[in-house]
């Protein structure tokens, strides 16, 4: 790989000398390791390309294909050490973005040597003004970084846990299968019972086991948040554990047992015939029969007939005096009657 990498001084390529290592210094020009040793034997010297004075100890192994990027990253790291304000330090996002751009411009200027005096002045100014914040920020991670750290840690923890869990589960399963098979063979060998029945009972047992297993697996993986809706927006029972779980039985408290008492209905009219009797009394003759689709929903013509009769007969005996049976009813019905009279 990177066979075409060439040292600009001695023209060696990576292809001819696979052991060649390119180095870069602050100016962003590459040199191979042997050239560095040769040229900088005294510890310092000038870059053969840009003649800028360099120290030997500042040479580093070139990380990127393009040495300019190495240089840029180098400068960037240096600058960002000072310019480490966070979004939290700014009142608005806009100002933060302006700050970011400013930093970027400084780096850009340094990399391409644009207007060095002004840039350096800017950096110095900044350093002076923001000493405290820089110091403070150096010791604290930004929110984003913290988030990432957390994520990574969570991943690691999960991996360890899961790996053990599943390996064990699989081993266990295998063991069980093996045991079951041995048991079957043993039984077939030594038992006097009918071979068929032994095989059948064995099959049943394995089926029961198989049913249990998915549950166990689901339990192992519980804690994963799952969606709780059908596609049409209907809630699914209690999700989170597994699909076919029942609703938990509500806790019973020691209250007196519930006793059913038929509700008393103040009907104020002759009792209508019961719903079963309607057919015999020939009430349906005057009513449209329910069609097939209506019946599918549980509707019968008796229902509407019964209701119509109730409505027709209810309140026939009504008179304002006789309604004052109970205090509760009275308060409600008087309002109604008032309305009735006015209309």
């Amino acid at each position: 790989m990177d066979d075409y990498q060439t040292c600009p001084k001695c023209k060696t390529t990576k292809y001819r000398n696979p052991a060649m290592i390119l180095m870069v210094n602050a100016c962003g020009h590459a040199l191979c390791e042997s050239c560095v040793e040769l040229l900088f034997a005294k510890g310092s010297g000038a870059c053969p390309e840009c003649k800028c004075p360099l120290r030997r100890n500042n040479f580093r192994i070139q990380l990127f294909e393009d040495p300019a990027v190495d240089k840029e990253v180098d400068i960037r790291k240096r600058i960002l050490k000072e310019f480490n304000k966070r979004q939290e330090d700014f009142p608005t996002l806009r100002e933060y973005n302006d700050y970011l751009e400013e930093v970027e411009t400084i780096i850009f200027n340094l990399v391409f040597d644009i207007d060095p005096t002004n840039t350096n002045k800017m950096i110095d100014n900044y350093k002076k003004e923001n000493k405290d914040i820089t110091q403070k920020n150096r010791n604290r991670q930004s929110q984003e970084e913290m988030e990432l750290e957390e994520l990574l840690e969570a991943e690691k923890a999960q991996q360890c846990e899961k790996a053990n869990l599943y390996v064990n589960a699989e081993l266990e399963e295998k063991k069980q299968k093996h045991k079951a098979r041995e048991k079957l063979i043993d039984e077939l060998m030594f038992s006097d019972a009918d071979a068929k029945s032994i095989v059948a009972s064995h099959a049943q047992a394995t089926a029961a086991l198989a049913k249990e297993q998915p549950k166990a697996a689901a339990q192992a993986g519980s804690g994963v948040v799952k969606s709780s809706k059908f596609s049409s927006g209907i809630q699914i029972g209690l999700r989170g554990h597994h699909t076919n779980s029942f609703l938990p039985i509500p806790k019973q408290e020691d209250l007196p047992l519930y006793r059913y008492t038929a509700p008393v209905f103040d009907y104020d009219g002759p009792p209508p015939p019961s719903i079963e009797m309607l057919g015999k009394l020939n009430y349906f003759a005057n009513i449209r029969a329910a069609n097939i689709t209506e019946r599918a929903g549980g509707y019968t013509e008796a229902m509407s007939c019964c209701r119509a009769l109730q409505e027709a007969m209810g309140g026939l005996f009504y008179s304002p005096q006789s309604t004052h049976k109970t205090a509760v009813l009275a308060t409600i019905s008087t309002e109604d009657t008032d309305d009735m009279e006015t209309t």
Binding site: L63, E72, V73, L148, K162, F230, S231, S232
Partner: protein
């Protein structure tokens, strides 16, 4: 015929109907009523398409407010054309019955490559080139320049469409790709943009999966489709893979080198522009400072670059200051590309989570997560501002920008795998970075959330319960229909051993065994002697196919085989394969008979039908498991296990069996058809594999046929073939597997259908 499906009047364009089609309609209607998603499996060759279309069109007519649009997604252009044919038939029937023009507009949409009518652009072969050239003729700035200077070429068809096409909507009717082209020619309008414009008000749209599932394309094409639509994914057994592919990115060394070139191009363009016309850059800069979204994004022709799905709150936010100016952004891109290059310089495989990648990129080249997230958007904006008309060069850079955006957006459900070389050639350095999506539900989630009903249907969706799990949705209806048949016209058999009683299996340990290979060969030879016309064989991989064929040469099996039939082999080369296919069909047509050796998951297994004499028998040599050592697969299995509690083996078996079923289904393309299905592997007879076959195959797989030797298998074949060779007419089918309207309405049949519905 006119049907009453649970109170809905359905026009069905044929005189006869299969009972399962009626049941399918019932289930589909229930799903539409409930406004939920459904999963329906019905064997191939039973008229899924026409059933779907006729019910949904009827529903649209009956409830025009509840259901306004049908979006039918298919996989390939020929399949799209088939759907359009069915739709045309249906609409003709409506017209005949109702006696008037129907107010329904249906159209197909495909890429520019298939729809372009520009005299020179349409000559291009490659889709990307057509897209790029179209863009260079129709982009808004090109047209603006043309207004100033007539010498700059533009596309006259697009101009025609732009001038008039929007006022006159496409008249109701059914338009397939050719009709659209014809209409475009006649009017002088661009068919592609006409179709894209028409999508918003058409009643029925037929296009490829990608227009909905690929977030990059869906954003532009399918944005305006209303919620009250029903979306159908036909042949959806591979839908999870489509979802995953649409969100995954693969970066090679070459791609990165091309990126460096395009970055240089960007640099020079920017410096040119700074000298000549710095106003535009300033304008862009101002807009970014204000945090406004690009206004020009609405211009439909400027679509060539779009960003993958981003959470909307990110889109609202302003572009971070670090990449606001053009030069800074280019320097930023350079750093990203150089960083990825260093990552590719690895000696051993690296697997990393997106979070790890983000941390590393931060420490190595000081890039924060936030600007990374805006990369795709920023690049699109820059390219628009620079008015670069030739986009084809930039596709590598666009890929990298998508990668940057995706990796910083999603921390879950993705993994990064860097392989220094391919497993098969460990000495050749060919580093590839896979940014692989592990969770198929990510891509499809917006579809499920947005549309009221999504229908996922195919001939082979078994086991059904796996799909809701891996796509993470809750269907209201999940049904598998079998095929009612008047005669047992499929014969599935599991052959587990050869005549010498050596077990047949493609297990890794035994697959190279000469005895196994010889037994496979003998099985094929004997079947070739007994079965007339065409035989299709599927192997588990190209590699296995090649090793087996070479040993068959040595063992003389090929010679024996050629005594009975001609032999054709599928290869990885598409042209070679299609040539082999043509000749295979020729040999079957003229009665010489032929054997086609092909590969499960290959081209042949996925879209080519071997109906009637083209496929009288299908042999499946071994279980088509995926290559399980692949790291991407491993990562996905792990993810499925952790997130969805799907065990590795379950998923692998599921995947293998759906491909096996897909292969087997090739030979059965209708009710008059008949075919033998031989599953030549001992492991098929185990309950976990067998139960994962589609119901319609399982029904015919008798216990007696589950553990055969070669000899027994051939005997069964012979007996069965004699039975099938008897004349078979429509009258034999009527009342059982084919119904007239009267028969359908008869009480007995209604009862049967009811029972079927309840039994599910």
């Amino acid at each position: 015929m006119k049907l009453n499906v649970d109170g809905l009047l359905v026009y069905f364009p044929y005189d006869y109907i299969y009972p399962e089609q009626f049941s399918y309609m019932l289930e589909l209607k229930r799903a539409l009523d409930a406004k939920g998603h459904c999963l329906l499996e019905m064997p191939s060759g039973t008229g899924k398409t026409t059933t779907l279309l006729s019910l949904i069109v009827a529903y649209m007519k009956a409830h025009p407010l509840d259901l306004t649009k049908l979006v039918y997604c298919s996989r390939t252009v020929p399949e799209i054309e088939k759907v359009m044919e069915e739709l045309r038939k249906l609409m003709n029937y409506y017209e005949k019955e109702m006696g008037m023009e129907q107010n329904i507009l249906g159209l197909a949409l495909s890429s520019r490559k298939n729809l372009c009518i520009h005299p020179s652009v349409s000559k291009e072969r490659e889709g990307k080139v057509v897209d790029g050239r179209c863009y260079s003729l129709t982009a808004s700035f090109v047209r603006a320049r043309h207004a100033a200077d007539d010498a700059i070429p533009i596309c006259e068809f697009y101009e025609g469409f732009d001038a008039h096409g929007k006022e006159f909507p496409l008249p109701p009717g059914v338009y397939n790709l050719d009709d659209l082209k014809e209409y475009g020619q006649m009017k002088g309008w661009c068919p592609y943009f006409l179709a894209r414009y028409t999508i918003t008000h058409a009643n029925i749209v037929v296009y490829s999966y990608h227009y909905l599932l690929d977030p990059k394309i869906a954003e532009v094409v399918s944005k305006e489709i209303t919620k009250t639509s029903v979306v159908v994914f036909d042949e959806a057994h591979n839908i999870d893979n489509v979802c995953i592919d649409s969100m995954s990115v693969k970066i090679t060394k070459r791609l990165l080198d091309k990126c460096s070139n395009s970055i240089q191009l960007l640099e020079t363009t920017i410096s040119n522009m700074k000298e000549n016309d710095s106003k535009r850059l300033e304008k862009e800069y101002k807009r970014l400072v204000e945090g406004l979204r690009d206004a020009t994004i609405a211009r439909e022709t400027d679509m060539a670059l779009v960003n993958p799905v981003l959470p909307s709150e990110v889109l609202e936010e302003a572009v971070p200051g670090t990449i606001r100016t053009a030069e800074h952004f280019v320097a930023f891109l350079k750093r990203v590309v150089e960083y990825v290059k260093t990552r590719l310089r690895v000696q051993h495989v690296v697997q990393e989570s997106p979070a790890g990648f983000l941390r590393d990129i931060h420490t190595k080249v000081c890039i924060d997560r936030k600007p990374l997230r805006f990369t795709a958007e920023r690049l699109a904006s820059l390219i628009r501002t620079l008015e670069i008309s030739d986009l084809t060069d930039f596709s590598p850079l666009v890929t990298v920008s998508h990668f940057a955006t995706l990796v910083s957006t999603y921390t879950k459900g993705f993994t990064i795998i860097i392989e220094p070389f391919e497993d098969r050639a460990p000495t050749v350095s060919n580093p590839i970075l896979y940014f692989s999506c592990l969770d198929s539900s990510i891509a499809i989630k917006p579809v499920f959330n947005r549309f009221q009903t999504v229908v996922i249907t195919s001939g082979t969706l078994s086991p059904l319960d796996m799909y809701p799990k891996i796509l993470d949705f809750h269907p209201v209806i999940m049904t598998s229909f079998t095929m009612t048949l008047a005669r047992p016209c499929i014969l599935p058999m599991i052959v587990s051993k050869g005549n010498d009683q050596v077990a047949m299996s493609s297990r890794y340990e035994t697959r190279e065994d000469t005895a196994v290979i010889r037994n496979y060969g003998n099985l094929l030879v004997e079947i070739a002697a007994a079965v007339p016309d065409g035989i299709v064989c599927f192997f588990t991989s190209y590699l296995y196919l090649e090793t087996i064929v070479s040993s068959w040469y040595d063992q003389g099996i090929i010679d024996q085989l050629q005594r009975h039939k001609l032999l054709f082999i599928e290869t990885q080369d598409a042209a070679e394969t299609s040539l082999a296919l043509i000749n295979y069909i020729k040999a079957c047509d003229n009665g010489r008979g032929a054997v086609l050796l092909s590969v499960a998951r290959g081209k042949v297994s996925e879209g080519i039908d071997f109906d009637h004499h083209l496929g009288r028998a299908v042999l499946m040599f071994g279980i088509p498991y995926v290559y399980t050592q692949s790291r991407i697969l491993r990562a996905r299995l792990e993810y499925l296990r952790d997130q969805f509690q799907i065990r590795e083996n379950d998923f692998l078996t599921f995947d293998a069996m759906r491909h096996a079923a897909q292969c087997l289904g090739r030979c059965m393309r209708g009710k008059t058809d008949y075919g033998i299905m031989v599953l030549a592997d001992k492991r098929f007879s185990r309950a976990d594999k067998r139960s994962k076959l589609p119901k319609w195959i399982q029904e015919h797989l008798k216990d007696t046929n589950c553990n055969l030797s070669t000899e027994e298998c051939v005997q069964t074949c012979k007996r069965w073939l004699r039975q099938m060779a008897q004349p078979f007419s429509r009258e034999d089918q009527l009342g059982i597997s084919l119904l007239t309207l009267e028969q359908l309405q008869s009480e007995e049949m209604q009862k049967k259908i009811q029972q079927r519905a309840q039994g599910i």
